[in-house]
């Protein structure tokens, strides 16, 4: 009986210790290792961008809702690249641009869908390139043709496009992965002081004081007002300030599945 109890207790202690170690503690990272991790993360993220990887970004800032009240506004951009049904068509793209949590008491969810829309009556697995039309659906679900993908990402606020207005209170390009990563241009060990680097499991958090001027984040030049960069599994995943008072980028390298409605579907 006593042996049974001892064996069970030993197993329990061993198991619980293993679990606690899995739960992880926060550890400080040496400066050299931290910069190397940052450079590697930037390279990985840039490679993902160059390879037309899909992404899902949220850009959160203090603004106004549709009623003109102060509100935390979250602009989201979900971009899906690629079409497995058509060979070598890597620039195929479907985009969901929206605003969420912009209102105080209701959720205003404004969506604009842009990309290649399939003709009605044609199944995706049997579709050819010419069955697709490039354009966008506005909030009313109306489809307008577009010239190319970059036209959409370079749209300015309140742009009128073939008479159908896209509702965006700021440039769409600010929510793209290219722009988000571009804000970190110039952030390196020469231009920036590393205040701290902490690692917890797969998450590395860097606090940076930007010394150089003329950079996007040059304002973050104090210990109390520093730039915070989160790296998750060797990719940049969040860019913010220490007190989250300035716009925050939440960067994901995959997002919800997207399929556009048929551009010639009849409305009931």
């Amino acid at each position: 009986m006593r042996k049974k109890v001892i064996v069970v207790l030993l197993i329990a202690i061993l198991a619980i210790s293993s679990i606690l170690s899995l739960a992880g503690c926060t550890s400080k990272v040496e400066e050299q290792a931290a910069w190397e991790a940052y450079e590697k993360a930037m390279a990985n993220s840039a490679e993902h961008l160059q390879n037309n990887g899909s992404y899902f970004i949220k850009y959160r800032y203090n603004g106004q809702n549709s009623k003109g009240e102060k509100a935390v506004v979250t602009q989201k951009l979900n971009v899906v690249y690629g079409n497995s049904n058509i060979k070598d068509w890597n620039d195929f793209v479907v985009v969901d641009k929206g605003v969420e949590k912009a209102a105080r008491y209701t959720t205003d969810y404004l969506n604009t869908y842009f990309g290649y829309s399939l003709k009605s009556g044609v199944k995706a697995k049997n579709a050819k390139r010419e069955d697709y039309a490039l354009g966008y659906f506005n909030m009313k679900g109306e489809f307008s043709n577009s010239e190319n993908v970059e036209d959409f990402f370079n749209l300015e606020a309140g742009t009128s496009y073939n008479g159908n207005e896209i509702n965006a209170d700021t440039e769409i390009k600010k929510y793209t992965l290219a722009y988000a990563l571009g804000t970190l241009d110039g952030i390196n060990r020469e231009s920036t002081d590393l205040l701290s680097a902490e690692k917890r499991g797969n998450v590395l958090t860097l606090k940076l004081k930007v010394k150089a001027e003329g950079l996007f984040y040059s304002n973050y030049n104090q210990d109390s007002n520093c730039l915070v960069v989160r790296i998750t599994l060797n990719r940049i995943s969040k860019i913010s300030s220490a007190d989250d008072s300035l716009p925050i980028y939440f960067i994901n390298y995959a997002g919800p599945k997207l399929t556009l409605a048929s551009y010639d579907a009849k409305k009931s």
Binding site: V8, A71, V203, K238, N252, K257
Partner: protein
């Protein structure tokens, strides 16, 4: 062929017997079928509430609190810690209230009536928070409201479970009733599992839409209250006590006796590890929303997943009958371990995720039957050893588990956070980030399932011993009734005789038939010498 036809006949026999014993229980049983139905259908009400409560748990997997209200995992863990602390502090009060329930209508049923409406109101209120609040305000309001709701709701939920332990002194009958009721009431989560994704389609953001929760919460909590009332009005509590049993429970006296009940300890120790064994099943909603992303498929899979619990609960009493509760408890935990191990190697395999989750649900469902049945046996053992019924006070032993849970409650959230799940749950769309998270959870689930099984190796209160205990308790209660002049009274707290008739009605009938006679029941019983002056040493045989 003979075995198949025999099995079919026994099934038909059981169905026929169910209707034959609609108003009166079968020989050797205590509960008529209509009462089993009332308890079971009433359980659907409890489960509708439970489904709603599962949508507002203090965990990162909660869509409402995590994805919609944007509460961080550590915030939720801190609130959970506080809530656990309050629960511990309030536990003695709850235990005392249970064992001293006013009104004399039992220890479980009255609380179903008194607590169902407050539970519904408090649960619904949690769906009407403002997502625009700053994190501190959100944490305070949700924390206070949740703590009050949790105390009331858990009290209410516990009493429904306790009713199954008090509805009959027959351990196999208890297991059967728990099984039948579980099959019936599990229709509630099956219905909601299929309905919710479809209702969510009506809202712009689907299950990530605040209005979805503000719609389902009031509807299904009201349904919960209405169904619960069926259980209240349609059931009775039956414990074996002498007619004049009116034990006032004193806290320290009760605790000093309960701590010597090893079976209570075994049941409590296993609960210390239960938080971890279902680590993988906790992410099922994430699988639906972030991986599957198909409401129709989710509705179908929810129905399929619901069958796991149904099958487990159906099989449980048969497994208990053939293998005993102890072996069933060990086996069901070990199979949960075995189901989680493959996910360590293939954490991204969607089919494997569902299969593993299905098996874990099955194992947990078996224990939904076995554990309360074992708890009831442990309570009977307490009465056998010390003459006390401690349905409420025995819950105080669970305080130790709750204190332990204050620490272990941080483990799963910590695992989420070290894998990148912090203030943005959309990382769950990314398979590269999901795989390490699911792998770690699978490791946790495997280890803790083994730890849950371990205490049951010390359980030696088998069904044969339990039967002997109950017979002994009946004899003691009958003896005490004779000594106190209640010789013709039932030893069941419900006032029924063992054939289901009411003892007061029998008494009235006897008196009317023998009003001119010198006969009495007293003479017949007191000639039975074996009931008087029983040798105390025989009590140690069990």
């Amino acid at each position: 062929m003979g075995k198949i036809s025999g099995a079919v006949k026994s099934v038909f026999g059981a169905v026929k017997g169910f209707f034959v014993h609609w108003n009166r229980p079968a020989e050797g049983k205590y509960v008529p079928s209509k009462e089993v139905v009332a308890y079971s259908v009433g359980g659907m009400g409890v489960q509708f509430m439970a489904v709603i409560c599962n949508n507002v748990i203090l965990a990162s997997t909660c869509i409402l609190l995590g994805s919609i209200y944007n509460m961080k995992p550590t915030t939720l863990a801190i609130l959970s810690f506080i809530n656990a602390g309050v629960t511990i502090v309030m536990q003695p009060l709850k235990s005392w209230l249970i064992d001293n329930t006013p009104g004399g209508k039992g220890k479980a049923r009255p609380w179903l009536l008194w607590l169902s409406i407050p539970s519904a109101v408090l649960l619904t209120a949690l769906a009407f928070m403002d997502p625009g609040w700053n994190p501190t305000t959100m944490a305070i309001v949700v924390g206070i409201l949740f703590t009050i709701m949790n105390f009331v709701y858990q009290f209410y939920l516990g009493q429904y479970t306790m009713l199954a332990q008090l509805i009959s002194p027959n351990t196999q009958e208890r297991a059967n009733i728990i099984s039948i009721s579980s099959l019936v009431y599990s229709l509630a989560p099956t219905i909601t599992g299929a309905l919710f994704p479809l209702i969510a389609e009506l809202f712009t953001n689907g299950q990530l839409d605040h209005d979805f929760y503000r719609t389902i919460f009031p509807i299904f909590t009201v349904l919960g209250v209405l169904f619960t009332l069926i259980a209240y009005f349609g059931t009775k509590e039956r414990v074996i006590v002498p007619k004049n049993y009116e034990k006032k429970v004193k806290f320290w006296d009760a605790m000093s006796k309960i701590v010597r009940n090893k079976y209570m300890w075994i049941l409590n120790i296993t609960t210390w590890f239960q938080f971890g064994r279902a680590a993988v099943t906790g992410v099922l909603m994430w699988i639906y929303i972030y991986i599957l992303q198909n409401a129709g498929a989710q509705a179908v899979l929810s129905l399929v997943m619901g069958t796991a619990s149904g099958i487990g609960m159906f099989m449980a009493p048969f497994m208990i009958k053939f293998f005993g509760k102890r072996n069933v408890a060990i086996f069901s935990n070990l199979i949960m371990c075995a189901a989680s191990i493959p996910l360590i190697f293939f954490p991204s395999n969607l089919v494997l995720l569902f299969v593993s989750t299905y098996i874990v649900f099955w194992g947990a469902a078996v224990q939904i039957i076995s554990q309360p049945a074992m708890n009831a046996d442990a309570l009977d053992y307490q009465q056998y050893k010390t003459g006390d019924r401690y349905e409420g006070m025995s819950g105080n032993l669970g305080m130790i588990g709750q204190i332990i849970a204050l620490g272990t409650g941080f483990i799963i959230p910590a695992i989420y956070e070290i894998n990148g799940l912090l203030d943005d749950y959309d990382i769950l769309y990314d398979p590269a980030l999901r795989a390490p998270l699911f792998r770690t959870l699978a490791i946790v689930a495997s280890i803790f399932a083994v730890l849950c099984a371990a205490p049951f190796f010390f359980w030696d209160l088998n069904e044969k011993k339990h039967r002997k205990m109950i017979e002994e308790l009946k004899e003691r209660a009958a003896k005490e009734n004779i000594l106190n002049g209640y010789e013709h009274e039932s030893v069941l707290s419900s006032g029924e005789n063992f054939d289901g008739t009411d003892s007061s009605e029998v008494e009235a009938k006897f008196e009317s038939e023998h009003k001119d006679s010198s006969e009495s029941l007293v003479d017949e019983l007191t000639t039975d010498e074996s009931l008087l002056g029983k040798d105390k040493s025989e009590e140690d045989e069990v």
